[in-house]
């Protein structure tokens, strides 16, 4: 071992003496294992729920196409008899007095979003977790441990048509460029800088809702958001995204 200068040696000695006899609390490891198991279970359930939503949406679309606008007379296309997902998209069964259910639904829904974003943002982001207490905020963990704040927010779209997705250009989000998804949905992609680091956001409207997906840089490690415009457009075009883009109150 190297010979330490006196000050270093004294600080090191003080640390050793200060920690001497300080034992970790009981249950530390088993608590972590239990927490990891719960998170894994929740993530799996969320993934299953998101998968079932997409499958149900695809099956519904297929039935509608089969019937066709002038198709054979028959009963209107009905949703397939898929088994109810434990955390599927919301519902009439959500009553005002079911606070526990609502809370659990919100949490499950946010985990569905996190799992889906993790899959879609890989490999730029290794993991995505909801930020406690902030409905629209997620943390994307980079491959090197960076933390990229992610926003996945939904709000009611304003009234009236828009000439260009950039007509609502929000200067806070940076420079705007108009894009169009394969299905014709216009998307505004904003690129900007925060303290010299790149950030990116996509804003789009569909149905009665407006979705913002933003990835910001990790200021601590001075790392720009690791997502390109093409990657972000792929994310918002993915069929798993729209079923998740519902307002947190189920609206």
């Amino acid at each position: 071992m190297r010979e330490l200068p006196r000050d270093e040696s004294l600080v090191r000695g003080a640390m050793v003496r200060a920690m001497d006899g300080l034992a970790p609390p009981a249950g530390l490891v088993h608590g972590a294992i239990e927490l990891a198991r719960r998170r894994r279970k929740r993530a799996r359930a969320a993934g299953l729920g998101a998968g079932l939503c997409v499958a149900a949406a695809a099956a519904t679309a297929a039935l509608a196409l089969t019937a066709g606008p002038g198709g054979a007379a028959g009963p209107p296309a009905t949703p397939p008899a898929a088994p109810p997902a434990p955390s599927a998209v919301p519902s009439a069964s959500r009553t005002p007095d079911s606070a526990d259910f609502a809370s659990r639904w919100d949490e499950d829904h946010r985990w569905q979003i996190a799992v889906t974003l993790r899959e879609l943002l890989a490999p730029a982001v290794a993991d995505v977790t909801p930020v406690e207490g902030e409905d629209f905020r997620y943390d994307g963990e980079g491959q090197g441990g960076e933390v990229f704040p992610i926003t996945f927010s939904v709000r009611p779209a304003g009234d009236g048509p828009e000439a260009s997705p950039c007509e609502r250009a929000d200067s806070d989000l940076g420079a705007c460029a108009s894009h169009m998804l394969a299905d014709g949905t216009p998307v505004a992609v904003y690129t900007g800088q925060s303290d010299g680091l790149s950030r990116i956001a996509a804003l789009l409207r569909f149905g009665g809702e407006e979705l913002l997906v933003e990835v910001r840089p990790d200021a601590g490690s001075r790392t720009s958001a690791p997502v390109t415009t093409a990657h972000l457009l792929d994310v918002v075009a993915d069929p798993r995204i729209r079923p998740l883009a519902t307002l947190p109150d189920g609206g």
Partner: protein, 165 residues
């Protein structure tokens, strides 16, 4: 599941070291368990990769330090993630511990992490720079400055010579 067993064996053997490093980093024996648990959860999630690393301890140390810095940035360390059964036991040398933790708490989080990695974990300047993703000259200057501040605080408390408390 086999990986749980291997992980549990490792975590039980190294929890004391992780806890001590966490206490020094976050400055509070009651908040350190949250930091250790978050670290262990991340370690377990990536256990197959961590177990193949040259040094699992180095992997765990990196996760712990970066989790600490990330949570400091987000101001999350005051939130309890999971209930712990027992509070920390009474200190053997409470005055030294309180003074040292208070002195460390006066350092900015990155500087504190550098001091702990350098003098508690006994990493080289190059190893600290690599883990903290900064230059070696930054590590040297930060550690030198921090050491001077710690020396002043600990000498004021007459704890440096082991005569205190």
């Amino acid at each position: 599941m086999r990986s749980y067993g291997e992980f549990e064996e490792y975590a039980l053997a190294r929890q004391r070291w992780l806890y001590h490093t966490a206490v020094l980093l976050c400055g509070d024996p009651h908040r350190a368990p949250d930091l250790v648990q978050t670290t262990l959860v991340k370690l377990l999630r990536h256990w197959s990769r961590a177990a193949r690393a040259d040094s699992v301890d180095a992997y765990a140390r990196t996760v712990l330090t970066r989790t600490f810095l990330a949570e400091q940035r987000r101001g999350l360390l005051s939130r309890r993630a999971h209930a712990i059964e027992d509070p920390a036991p009474a200190a053997d040398d409470p005055e030294l511990r309180l003074t040292l933790l208070a002195a460390l708490a006066e350092l900015p989080p990155k500087a504190r992490a550098m001091v702990i990695l350098r003098y508690w974990e006994d990493l080289s300047v190059a190893e600290v720079a690599s883990l903290m993703r900064c230059s070696e000259s930054t590590v040297k200057s930060q550690c030198s400055r921090s050491l001077a501040r710690l020396r002043t605080r600990l000498k004021d408390a007459e704890l440096f010579t082991g005569q205190g408390s």
